[in-house]
C-alpha cells in the first residue's frame, strides 16, 4: 500500500537533552496510526518536527500528497505544510477565541482563498462568492461534527469539549490526506470520548484520509488504531497492532517500570 508519511531517523535535542532519538516510522494511506508513550516521551515533539514548528537536527520527513507527488518536509516553512494536505490539532487546543465558531472552521480553508488584500478590501464579487461557498462548506463540516446549531456563537465562550470539536472540524476544511491529532480526547469525559472515537473513525472512512494520533486514553487508541508505535525517551520501543503492543514486554516495562530493577 502507498505511504502517505515516512519519518526516517528523526532526532532533535534541546540543550543536550535528546527529545527524539533516531525515530523511524511510516504511515500508509487511509491508516489510523497511534503514537503512545509515557509523559515526556517526546510524542508532541515528533508532531512539531513533522509540521516544521521545530527544525529537527537529523532525519528526513517525507509526505506524499493526493496526486502521489512526494515532498521533503524538512526546512519547509510551517505555514506551507497545510497546503500539501497535512494538518494538525494541538494538545491544549489553539482556538481563536475572538472569532465565531464558523470563522474558526473557515480559518482551516485559509490557503484556499484566492482573493488578496486589495480584492478583499474592495469586496470584489468573485471574492465574496468564494467566501460564501467556503462558508457553506464550513457549515457542512460543522453539521458533520454536530456543532451546526451554535455555528455563529463565539468560540471563546464554549466548553472544552466543544473547542476540541472545533479544532477537529477545522482540520477537515483543507481536504487533508493526513490529519495529526494531539491528544484529541484529553480533558473529555467518557461519553464525549466515545462520540469522538466514532467521529475519528468516520473521518478516516468517509474522507479517505490517514490519521496520526497521540493519546493517553488507551481504550481509544486500542479501539481506533490499525497500527501503534510505542516510544520512550524519544526512542522507538515497539510497533505493531493493538494486540501486539499490549503483549510487548518492553512496552509494559516502560509504562509500569522495570520490576527487576528493584
Amino acid at each position: 500500500m502507498a505511504q502517505v508519511l515516512s519519518v526516517d531517523h528523526l532526532s532533535i535535542s534541546f540543550g543536550g537533552l535528546r527529545a527524539v532519538d533516531d525515530l523511524s516510522f511510516h504511515i500508509d494511506r487511509h491508516e489510523i496510526y497511534g503514537l503512545i508513550g509515557p509523559n515526556g516521551a517526546g510524542k508532541t515533539t515528533v508532531f512539531n518536527c513533522i509540521t516544521q514548528f521545530y527544525k529537527p537536527d537529523a532525519g528526513e520527513i517525507r509526505f506524499t500528497d493526493q496526486k502521489g507527488k512526494e515532498h521533503l518536509l524538512n526546512g519547509m516553512p510551517a505555514h506551507k505544510i497545510i497546503g500539501l494536505g497535512l494538518v494538525r490539532t494541538f494538545q491544549n487546543t489553539e482556538i481563536i477565541r475572538e472569532l465565531p465558531i464558523i470563522d474558526n472552521v473557515l480559518l482551516g480553508a485559509h490557503t484556499e482563498f484566492r482573493a488578496g488584500t486589495l480584492a478583499n478590501m474592495f469586496a470584489m464579487p468573485w471574492a465574496r462568492k468564494q467566501e460564501r461557498e467556503l462558508r457553506k462548506k464550513a457549515m457542512d463540516v460543522l453539521t458533520y461534527v454536530g456543532l451546526d446549531k451554535i455555528a455563529n456563537e463565539y468560540a471563546g465562550a464554549q466548553p472544552y469539549g466543544v473547542l476540541k470539536l472545533i479544532e477537529l472540524g477545522r482540520t477537515l476544511m483543507c481536504d487533508p490526506s493526513l490529519i495529526i491529532l494531539d491528544e484529541p480526547a484529553g480533558g473529555l469525559n467518557d461519553s464525549e470520548t466515545e462520540r469522538l472515537t466514532e467521529l475519528i473513525r468516520g473521518i478516516a472512512r468517509d474522507r479517505h484520509c490517514a490519521i496520526l494520533l497521540v493519546e493517553h486514553d488507551m481504550k481509544l487508541v486500542m479501539a481506533l488504531c490499525d497500527r501503534i508505535c510505542a516510544i520512550s525517551f524519544g526512542k522507538k520501543l515497539a510497533e505493531g497492532t493493538a494486540a501486539e503492543i499490549q503483549q510487548n514486554p518492553l512496552v509494559q516495562d516502560a509504562y509500569l517500570g522495570k520490576e527487576d530493577d528493584a
Binding site: 514548528f53 521545530y54 494541538f90
Partner: protein
C-alpha cells in the same frame, strides 16, 4: 588621542545611564515577558519627586535620592500588583498597552503636581574637573560611573550567586515550571518591577543635572536603553548592559568624528543593519518557542 579618550569617558558616563535603564527593562522583560514602555516616564516622575524632596522638604541630596528610590520601588510594586495583574486573563499585549497608558498618566501628573516649569537639579559633586593626562573628568562623572558599576556588580552577584537570583532566573526561563517548583513567581515579578523602577529613578536623577528636570528629560535615555536591549539581546542580563556602553561610546565618537547632527541616525542605521545579520543581538541565544 586625548580627544578620543575624552569622548570615550563621556560615552561611558551616558552609557551608564542607558545601562541602568536597560537593566530595568530586561529585568521586567525576563520575568514578566513584557516590554515596559513606561520605564523612562516613571524615572522622569521620580526625578520630580526627588526635586520636591530637596527643594520643598529641604532634604540633603544623599538622603533624598535613596528616599526617592524607595518610593520608586513601592510605586513599581504597586503597578505590577494592581495594573499588570489586577485581573486574571489579561493578555501580555494589554499589559504592554497599560504601560503605554502609564506614560500618559504620569506625563499628565508631573506638571499637575510639580508645575510645568523646568527645574534645575544640582550635581552630586560640584567639584571642578580632574586632569588625567589631558583628559578632563568631572568627579561627578566618576561618581555616576562608579555607582552604576557598583549596582551592576550587586545585581549580577544576586542574580548569579543567591537563591533569590535562582528564583528570578527560573521565572525568566519558564514561569509555569518555576511556579510548580514552589517559586513565588508573583513576588518575583513584583520585585522585578520594584527594582526596575528604582533603577529608572536613579538613571533620571543622574541625567537631571545635565538636562534639568522636565517632562521630556528621559525620552532619549529611554529610547537608547531600548536600542541597547535590542543590540545586546533581551535574552541575557549582561548583553543590554554591555550594549549600553557601546552605544554611549559609539554615539560620542560618531558625533565627534563624523557629525553631531547625524551621529544618532547613523548609529541606529548601523544597529538596524546589525539586527538583520544577528536577529538575537550581540549575546542573545535563539529561543525555541514551546508549541
Amino acid at each position: 588621542m586625548v580627544e578620543f579618550f575624552q569622548q570615550v569617558v563621556g560615552g561611558i558616563e551616558t552609557g551608564s545611564m542607558y545601562a541602568l535603564a536597560a537593566m530595568g527593562l530586561v529585568l521586567i522583560y525576563q520575568t514578566a515577558k513584557i516590554i515596559n514602555f513606561s520605564q523612562g516616564t516613571l524615572g522622569m516622575f521620580m526625578a520630580y519627586v526627588c526635586t520636591g524632596l530637596i527643594l520643598d522638604l529641604g532634604l540633603p541630596m544623599w538622603v533624598a535620592v535613596p528616599v526617592a528610590m524607595i518610593v520608586a520601588m513601592v510605586l513599581g510594586g504597586l503597578i505590577d500588583r494592581f495594573l499588570m495583574n489586577g485581573k486574571r486573563n489579561i493578555t501580555n499585549l494589554s499589559r504592554e498597552m497599560i504601560t503605554l497608558a502609564i506614560i500618559m498618566i504620569f506625563q499628565g501628573l508631573a506638571p499637575m503636581l510639580f508645575g510645568a516649569n523646568e527645574t534645575p537639579f544640582s550635581k552630586f559633586i560640584s567639584a571642578s574637573a580632574l586632569d588625567l593626562g589631558g583628559v578632563k573628568v568631572l568627579p561627578n562623572s566618576l561618581l555616576i560611573i562608579g555607582i552604576t558599576c557598583l549596582i551592576m556588580a550587586v545585581l549580577f552577584f544576586v542574580l548569579e550567586k543567591t537563591t533569590l537570583g535562582v528564583a528570578v532566573r527560573a521565572t525568566a526561563s519558564n514561569p509555569q515550571v518555576a511556579r510548580l517548583q514552589g517559586i513565588p513567581v508573583k513576588l518575583v515579578t513584583i520585585g522585578a518591577w520594584a527594582v526596575a523602577t528604582a533603577l529608572g529613578c536613579l538613571a533620571a536623577v543622574m541625567v537631571a543635572p545635565l538636562k534639568n528636570v522636565t517632562v521630556s528629560m528621559m525620552d532619549s535615555i529611554h529610547l537608547n536603553s531600548f536600542i541597547a536591549s535590542v543590540l545586546g539581546g533581551f535574552s541575557t542580563f549582561y548583553g543590554p548592559v554591555v550594549a549600553s556602553f557601546i552605544i554611549g561610546i559609539a554615539n560620542n565618537l560618531l558625533g565627534y568624528y563624523v557629525s553631531t547632527k547625524w551621529s544618532l541616525p547613523l548609529l541606529y542605521a548601523l544597529i538596524l543593519l546589525f539586527i538583520v545579520l544577528r536577529p538575537n543581538g550581540l549575546f542573545g541565544k535563539k529561543i525555541v518557542k514551546k508549541v
